[in-house]
């Protein structure tokens, strides 16, 4: 565990916590502008969080510890991931622990806990949302693993830092078909995992379609604030992961303040650009009917598999 890793980890965690609500606010603002609305402003999510934190915590009658601990687990696991992935610096706070599989497992754990909490409330919506979320995560995981596998084949390691290193050394690798296919697959996974259109609509409470919102329906006050915060953190973590894996340029490789500063700015810029792209994309797509979602995810799985296949078929320099 290097000093660079630790500094990076702390910086990243702080940056993700502080910046994620702003990212969500930015994306909402862009959608609002494109749809001809004024929008609530970039900092609106922070205002909402502040309001929620001031409220009293209420747990529905009959819920167990699962319901109460879920927000903490969510935020905690996402925070670990945010510290582990080499966003700002090319070394990870967890060192060899920053394995892609570990990161994916941590993120999946968050989703699984939330699904349990949804079931714990015993309400119809909670159960429905949990079942939908479980379906989607069951479909997402294989393609996520495939995409990761495809990225790790040329490097020979699933350690995130090694993959980022290798991409920095050999920029052509990023443009190989395997990498491009994996990028598309990962993007779809991101959309599905973070509950964006066309898989889930983050801005609706329509009972027929909602997934994430159905699970958190019973939360209120600080708990809800934590859940919302962790949701926005997951979004920025996924986008940051995409950015680090496929466009690792600008990452700090030494402890000097200048590269670190550059790293922070570049990371924020990359995530903002990706977020803008996702928000703009969302304006143009409609939500998929739920039973068409498996199709989308099967497609992303296929792309992941193609990426693996391509990393074997092609790019083998003679």
């Amino acid at each position: 565990m290097s000093a660079l890793g630790i500094v990076g980890g702390v910086l990243q965690a702080a940056l993700v916590v502080a910046g994620s609500p702003l990212l969500v606010g930015w994306m909402r603002q862009i959608r609002a502008r494109l749809e001809g609305r004024v929008g609530a402003g970039v900092v609106q999510p922070w205002r909402d969080l502040r309001k929620l934190f001031r409220k009293e915590a209420i747990a529905p009658a009959g819920t167990s510890e699962v319901f109460r601990f879920t927000p903490l687990v969510l935020v905690g696991s996402t925070l670990v991931v945010a510290a582990a992935i080499p966003f700002v610096t090319d070394a990870s706070a967890l060192g060899p622990g920053a394995d892609l599989f570990a990161v994916v497992a941590l993120l999946a754990m968050g989703t699984a806990t939330l699904a349990l909490a949804g079931l714990d409330t015993g309400t119809a919506f909670g159960g429905m949302g949990a079942s939908r979320a479980t379906t989607i995560i069951a479909l997402v995981e294989p393609s996520l693993l495939m995409a990761i596998f495809a990225l790790s084949v040329p490097v020979g390691s699933t350690n995130l830092a090694s993959i980022v290193h290798s991409a920095l050394r050999n920029p052509a690798q990023v443009l190989s078909p395997a990498s491009l296919l994996a990028a598309v697959a990962l993007l779809m996974v991101t959309v599905a995992e973070t509950g964006r259109l066309p898989v889930d609509n983050p801005s609706t409470h329509l009972e027929l379609t909602m997934i994430h919102e159905a699970m958190v329906l019973e939360y209120s006050g600080p708990d809800l604030a934590l859940v919302e915060l962790s949701a926005s953190m997951r979004l920025s973590v996924f986008l940051g992961l995409l950015a680090s894996l496929f466009a690792p340029w600008g990452i700090a490789t030494s402890l000097d303040p200048v590269p670190l500063g550059v790293g922070v700015v570049v990371f924020a810029a990359k995530v903002l650009v990706l977020g803008t792209a996702v928000a703009v994309g969302e304006v143009f797509v409609a939500k998929l009917r739920l039973f068409r979602v498996p199709e989308l995810l099967a497609g992303s799985f296929l792309l992941g598999l193609l990426a693996v296949a391509a990393s074997f078929f092609l790019s083998r320099q003679p």
Partner: protein, 220 residues
């Protein structure tokens, strides 16, 4: 052309071939399918052009231009015309295997293609021959589309997909078959498509639709 650039471009063309094949399997809207098919024709001719540039073979370059005209120009144009004539029904509504399952099947087919082409790759390891599995995969995906789709035009696209894959394998595996043979093959493909085009329009006259679901007259 430097070796690294050659490999990069070859890989890119190969990846595009595979990706377009998958997207064709994915989409339901026939107009979109035809558009993607045209992109694939372009990728195929790019592949051949890259090979031609690498081997400094003007004949191969000519073939690449011919392929571009035929596969990215004439054939998609014919398909589009057929679609326009078909009017309303432009969706592959109920394929025999639903889209999600057929995407997973395509994944299996890719693996099969990889396994099947191993002897070929081992026969003469080179940048071109490592891409042969891509061509094989396109052939298999095309065959799959052909047997599971019900709309006449998507069957036609499946057939053409197969043909694109075969052409790709041909150029990747050998330095190019004799020019006369290539000419004959292209002509035959064009003829076959024209024949199917005419038959599809006759089918529309007879059945009022090009959905092959209505082909239920002949059976045992």
């Amino acid at each position: 052309m430097s070796e690294a650039l050659y490999v990069q471009l070859l890989d890119l063309a190969g990846g595009a071939l595979l990706l377009t094949a998958v997207v064709i399997l994915w989409r339901r809207k026939l107009t979109a399918i035809v558009r993607v098919f045209a992109v694939q024709g372009f990728a195929l001719s790019l592949l051949v052009a890259v090979l031609a540039a690498h081997e400094n073979d003007p004949t191969l370059g000519g073939i690449a231009v011919g392929l571009l005209v035929l596969r990215a120009g004439v054939l998609p144009w014919l398909l589009r015309r057929a679609l326009a004539a078909a009017g309303e029904e432009q969706h592959e509504t109920r394929p025999l295997v639903n889209v999600a399952a057929s995407l997973l099947a395509a994944a299996v087919l890719v693996l099969i293609a990889y396994a099947v082409s191993q002897p070929l790759v081992e026969l003469f390891p080179s940048a071109a021959s490592t891409a042969i599995p891509v061509g094989m995969a396109v052939v298999l995906i095309g065959f799959f589309a052909l047997v599971t789709r019900r709309h006449a035009l998507s069957q036609l696209v499946g057939f053409l997909l197969m043909d694109n894959g075969i052409t790709a394998v041909g150029f990747l595996a050998t330095t190019g078959v004799a020019f006369v043979v290539e000419l004959g093959i292209s002509l035959d493909v064009l003829m076959a498509v024209l024949v199917l085009y005419v038959l599809a329009s006759r089918m529309r006259e007879a059945f009022g639709t090009t959905d092959l679901d209505d082909l239920r007259e002949l059976h045992d």
